[in-house]
Symmetry: C2
Subunit: 414 residues, 2 copies
């Protein structure tokens, strides 16, 4: 006798289950676990079974059925690196940069991270919430069902803690699941000009209050941001307090942050554009995720991207993220990141999809919960407007996501 | 006493009228004719007036009003170069290319233009229509209200004429206005292998039947396609028959097609990636449009783009187009092309918008009808999900177009 399900998604032309062990070093990234005529049985917001439709129907029956019409059914995207919560925009700076302004000229014109810090500090909670909700709606419409969100536009105890509370408010009030990260060490705020060490002290001092609100601590370790020594002491203190660790590593200069991420057992090292061969081998041999952010180079109009192919070939746990932020990557679309990663990073469509789902979930310590369609995980899934998963990479600039489901519920995406 | 309008679009935070003389050599491309608090009065599908809301209200009253909510109101996009009508896709070839396959290997595997020719010849009219309608719906949703559509996947008299008839069917049955171009000289079909001259004869022979169905004749003049001499004789014959002319020029090799376009008074020369300085100066000094197609280089994962900045600075009538086609640019989004053009071609957001509207309309000989918001033109307009026109270029990978209107009617875009 068949068991009862709440809902069955049927007639998936390609069901991408990604059913396989959690990612670890050396695991092939190209296996999507494709089932040709698939179905997913769902109850209580969780997956009961995902597999061949005949097999699923033999075990479950559901009052409600959602016919996928022969299209692709796959896990929702997991976006493991975003700076989603802020006020204002950086359009003026964007236009200055197009006209050839240098980083220093943009800073002098009031641009850069500090301009978003000014706008965010000056904004009310409601303004920040409503502006960020617009971005979350776009994320959801493009298939992202779980996203990491970093602070880093407050840069003082009051505003950093405010942003963490607002992330929680947003997590409770819309469908995208949010993973909060404290990035007090995003930039040195103007009131600490020339006193980066003193600001690093302040960030360390914020950590006990951050605990309980943030799940991760991140530091922007680069020239013009924080030194390796500052990064290390902040992250070590965060780890003592039980926070998970992430780090902005090797975006512009290779300062050793990738090695530090391995040494401290971080969840991920992110950017990795100028990583040395030795550091790549070290990270690939560890369990630390390698989060690549091609949207940032695209947004800046740069021609140099992380060497994604080498990262995959080295056996790293490669994930993709939007880096959604107002300065360098004003984009919420994981499908665009996949299309870009195949062209600019050398990933195959299958690798890019694994990087945008299961590996990204791993980097957020959510691989037990989301990132693949297997029994027990949350029923976070997409129906694409496509019959072949590779269309996600082939088409670009348009949204191939048709239906978005979070915890078994279809989301309104417009 | 105020005159009666059918509809008034009110409360445009930025109304981009593009009100200025039709583009000609040397005209600045950066003037969007921005009205800060604008309105558009519409009757019989045409614009009665577009300007400051107070001024428009003093002259017109309308029963229906559409509140733009302080957002950007602008002309619909004109996409002056697409290969929109075909059957099938080229996903297999896309994946081969990502794995490093050469053009010859792809051809050997059955890829390239010929694979789309096979699929198109084999498809029924209904299959071609329904597949192309899906692409037209995406175009419309991304704000394109007028598009050129080329044949070129039939490559025999029966199928080329069939495609022209189907373009007419599509033009009559959905909102995007279509401008039909005969591109019989897109590639040499397999049955003419090694007999390019004989195929060029056949194309010339098709021209009398093409007249009345196509508005333009185009030739793909490049290495591996048609020689300059073949291009010239086909275009000269087309001109004798009263067709307008366009030409694929300087995409891979500089064969002289740009000079030919000037000599023959073509409407546009398109691609222009490897144009010589002399040819650039010649085209810029003429009335021939320069259509740039950055989506093609993006789609192919290439790092070399047309030098858009130099084309604008030289005073050319620069237009942007998607080149939407299954092999190199499976994208219908003009907003993405604008975002890309600002980053990869060196255009400013204002220039890119002019290139995607008024200058594109000029290249299709439609500047009297569409491409700007001035009295007498068709009421083809967009309301963006943005208060600043530069967001069109700043954001990428998502769709900034909210509402699409063609001839005064709001279109369903989903």
């Amino acid at each position: 006798m068949a068991c009862k399900a709440d809902l069955m998604v049927t007639n998936a032309g390609q069901l991408l289950t990604l059913a396989r062990p959690a990612p670890r070093r050396g695991l092939a990234m190209s296996d999507l676990g494709i089932v040709p005529h698939g179905a997913v049985a769902i109850a209580g917001g969780r997956i009961l079974a995902a597999g061949p439709e005949n097999a699923v129907r033999s075990r479950y029956e559901a009052d409600d059925e959602l016919d996928a019409g022969g299209r692709v059914v796959m896990p929702g995207f997991v976006d493991p690196h975003t700076h989603l919560i802020y006020a204002g925009d950086r359009i003026d700076e964007f236009e200055l940069r197009l006209r050839g302004a240098t980083y220093m000229e943009i800073m002098a014109a009031g641009g850069g991270i500090r301009s978003t810090v000014r706008a965010t500090r000056a904004a009310s909670d409601d303004e920040i919430l409503s502006q960020t909700r617009r971005r979350l709606r776009r994320m959801l419409a493009h298939g992202t069902t779980t996203a990491e969100v970093k602070t880093g536009y407050g840069l003082d105890p009051e505003n950093e803690l405010r942003l963490l509370r607002l992330i929680r408010t947003l997590d409770d009030s819309q469908p995208v699941r949010l993973v909060p990260t404290f990035l007090g060490a995003h930039a040195v705020p103007p009131e600490f000009d020339g006193r980066a060490e003193a600001y690093a002290d302040l960030v360390e001092g914020m950590l006990p209050q951050v605990r309980g609100l943030a799940e991760y601590c991140d530091v922007f370790c680069d020239e013009g941001a924080f030194t390796l020594a500052q990064t290390e002491r902040i992250l070590r203190r965060a780890r003592e307090l039980g926070l998970g660790l992430r780090v902005h590593a090797d975006e512009f200069a290779s300062l050793g942050a990738t090695r530090l991420a391995v040494e401290l057992g971080a969840a991920s090292a992110d950017h990795l554009v100028v990583t040395t061969e030795d550091d790549r081998a070290l990270l690939a041999a560890s369990g630390v995720g390698a989060v690549l952010l091609p949207g940032t180079a695209f947004g800046l109009g740069k021609k140099s991207y992380a060497d994604g192919r080498s990262w995959v070939d080295a056996g790293a746990i490669v994930a993709l993220a939007t880096d959604c932020n107002p300065g360098t990557a004003p984009s919420e679309s994981m499908p665009f990141i996949i299309a870009l990663a195949c062209r600019a990073l050398g990933l195959t469509p299958a690798e890019a999809i694994v990087a945008a789902t299961l590996n990204a979930a791993y980097c957020l310590n959510r691989a037990h919960e989301v990132g693949s369609l297997v029994a027990g995980k949350s029923a976070d899934l997409l129906i694409l407007d496509a019959g072949d998963y590779r269309e996600l990479a082939y088409r670009f600039g348009t949204n191939p996501v048709g239906t978005v489901m979070v915890a078994g519920r279809i989301c309104e995406t417009d």
